[in-house]
Amino acid sequence: MTAADLIPPLVGEPDVERVDAERAGRVGRPGRDRTRRSLGRILIHAALAVAGFAMVFPFVWMLLTSFKTLPQLLQDPLSFWPDPWTLDKYVDAWNAVPFGQAYLNSIYICVLAVVGTLLTASMAGYAFARIRFRGSRVLFIVFLATQMIPKQVTLIPFYLLMAKFGWVDSHLSLIVPAMLVNPFAVFLMRQFVLSLPKELEEAALVDGAGRWRTFWTIILPNLKPGLGALGIIVALDVWNSFLFPLVLLNSPDLFTVPLLLASFRGQFGSVDYGLVMAASALATIPMLVAFVIGQRRILNSMAASGLGGR
């Protein structure tokens, strides 16, 4: 079993065994049963279509509203279709606050946090899975236990600590802790390492490669699926985090995308909500596009994370 097997395929690859079994079952069934089945399938599709519409409606509404002019919004708040269409709100929103800067901030914070987490978590995961050192079991339990502490419980002292470090209103306070603390990531990587065959690294160790080299040249390359899954999870988490950036950052130039968006609401209120929707669209559309492009990997990663690599 390789690390890849831990990720159940949700999209694209049909479960061949299952489909075959279903087909085999269907061969002997009378025709009436088959009609009932396809009727059921149509009903399922109908119900899911309704639910799916409810899921996208807010996004559709956001987009349509963002293209409307203020007079249209004030005269007829229920109008569905923009008339006339305008891009003004996007221009206004982009110019009102440093959107471009916020994107750069979010991207580079995310990249550093992800790369750092992947490295430190896979190192720790490897050690907990394969190296016998005194106290390793106790340490691992400590790692698991700290997952129980809600982050918000440490909010005040964490802020005070960052102030001591001189990291308040600096991206360091978001990047460094993210790189170095992620018990869930350690747990997940340990599970992935455990799923690798032991023989893989034993050969290297017997041939005289040290632990570091074994980790770097044998373990890490074989962990790629796990690293990809973890990277997606961490990136989403860091990108969307709000409370800690809210507390730690003051200068608008340092703001991340969600923080800038929230400040936008504070500044412009609900007066011109076409503007607010345009800002929301600017914040969400790139994420949604990235998701649709990478949906297969993202969905499979989230599934693997939810199953905890069990």
């Binding site: 949700l10 999209v11 479960d15 079994a21 399922i44 899911l48 639910a51 807010p58 996004f59 509404w61 956001m62 509203t65 708040p77 229920l78 490295l119 190192m123 190296i131 016998r132 050192f133 390793s136 340490l139 790692f143 700290t146 129980m148 502490i149 809600p150 918000q152 005040i156 002292p157 802020y159 005070l160 600590l161 170095l180 603390v181 018990p183 160790l205 005289g208 490669a209 570091w212 080299r213 770097w216 989403l236 709000f242 409370l243 809210l246 995308v257 929230a262 607010v276 929707m277 929301s280 914040a283 969400t284 994420m287 949604l288 649709v292 949906q295 993202i298 989230m302 599934a303 199953l307």
Partner: protein, 338 residues
């Protein structure tokens, strides 16, 4: 650098040079027999060095945890028993903060609101997710649905809250639709204390549904087809299959997700902060985390704020313990069923 030292120190059993290997009696044998050939002393030295590598590998995460989690956590416990605004000297006050907090209407309201949010969103959210996952599992083409359901999950909660804020306007599309269908006055969700909390719940359910669907779907696919097939041969229909096979075998994952969902809904903040403009009308949506934030960064009352944090921690632990107690009743593992 580290790579070369690793190579020099990490010799586990035999000298790395292949030339020495023929000297060992059992060349073709497994590592275990060669280990004997090189002697226990060498083995012990390797183990010692290997142990050191263990510490090196966990060091970054260990230091991070000590500095950024355990230290602030300990400080939180200390601050909860002290009076401090960041400027004056720290003063030890014992249980005063807790006593004051537990008499504080705002904290009590926060706790009630937080528990209400959790008690509404978790069962409804997970129930819907099970239904959707079971429906999706029977379809061969489900990619589009998965994308639709998951889109809110990848969107930041701030953006989600801002969009819904417009949908919940009294003159908005949702309220008008409800008004015309039920013949009532259009509900003003975000300015009505009794509806604001419900609005928060609706948004939380909507935005987390996709994540649970994905996890449950993966869980359903992990059920071995032979179990399903066996039940089918025994004449089980779709409903029977769901009730007696799929749901019980999915229950460990539902249980696990319910803990995660419960804990994360105890931490509701973003939605409350953005959607209901700080904490809703008359603090109708004030949650514990909002309370912690408000005391700490709105009023610089670090002591009471830390006391509230400890209360949140205790609540988390108690609820997790209750859920683990309930687990025995509802959770089945595949081994039991087989």
């Amino acid at each position: 650098m580290a790579i070369t030292t690793g190579g020099a120190t990490g010799t586990p059993v035999a000298p790395p040079a292949p030339a020495t290997q023929p000297a060992a009696p059992a060349t073709a044998e497994s590592g275990a027999s060669r280990r004997g050939a090189t002697g226990p002393r060498r083995e012990a030295a390797w183990r010692r060095r290997d142990r050191r590598w263990g510490y090196v590998f966990v060091a970054p995460q260990l230091v991070g945890m000590a500095v950024f989690v355990l230290l602030p956590f300990a400080a939180s416990l200390v601050l909860a028993f002290a009076s401090w605004n960041g400027l004056t000297a720290l003063e030890w006050v014992g249980f005063d903060n807790f006593a004051a907090q537990l008499q504080d209407e705002l904290l009590l309201k926060s706790i009630v609101n937080t528990l209400l949010i959790a008690l509404i969103t978790v069962p409804v959210g997970l129930g819907l997710a099970v239904v959707v996952a079971v429906a999706l599992e029977r379809l061969r083409t489900r990619t589009l649905y998965l994308i639709l359901f998951f889109a809110p999950v990848v969107t930041s909660t701030v953006a989600v809250a801002m969009i819904w804020q417009q949908l919940f306007r009294a003159d908005g599309v949702l309220s008008t639709a409800i008004a015309s269908v039920f013949g009532v006055a259009p509900p003003d969700w975000l300015n009505d204390p009794s509806l604001a909390l419900l609005a928060v719940c609706i948004v939380s359910i909507w935005s987390s549904l996709g994540l649970n669907v994905i996890i449950f779907l993966a869980g359903l696919q992990n059920i071995s087809p032979s179990v399903i097939e066996a039940a089918r041969i025994d004449g089980a229909g779709a409903w029977r299959l769901f009730r007696s096979i799929r749901l019980p075998l999915l229950s460990p994952i539902v249980f696990f997700s319910s803990i995660v969902a419960f804990i994360s809904s105890l931490q509701t903040f973003d939605t409350v902060f953005v959607l209901t403009a700080n904490a809703g009308p008359d603090n109708a949506t004030r949650t514990i985390v909002y309370h912690i934030y408000d005391l700490g960064f709105g009023r610089f009352e670090f002591g009471p704020s830390s006391a509230a944090s400890v209360i949140l921690l205790l609540l988390t632990l108690v609820i997790t313990a209750i859920q683990f107690g309930a687990q025995k009743k509802f959770v089945h593992y595949e081994d039991d069923a087989a």
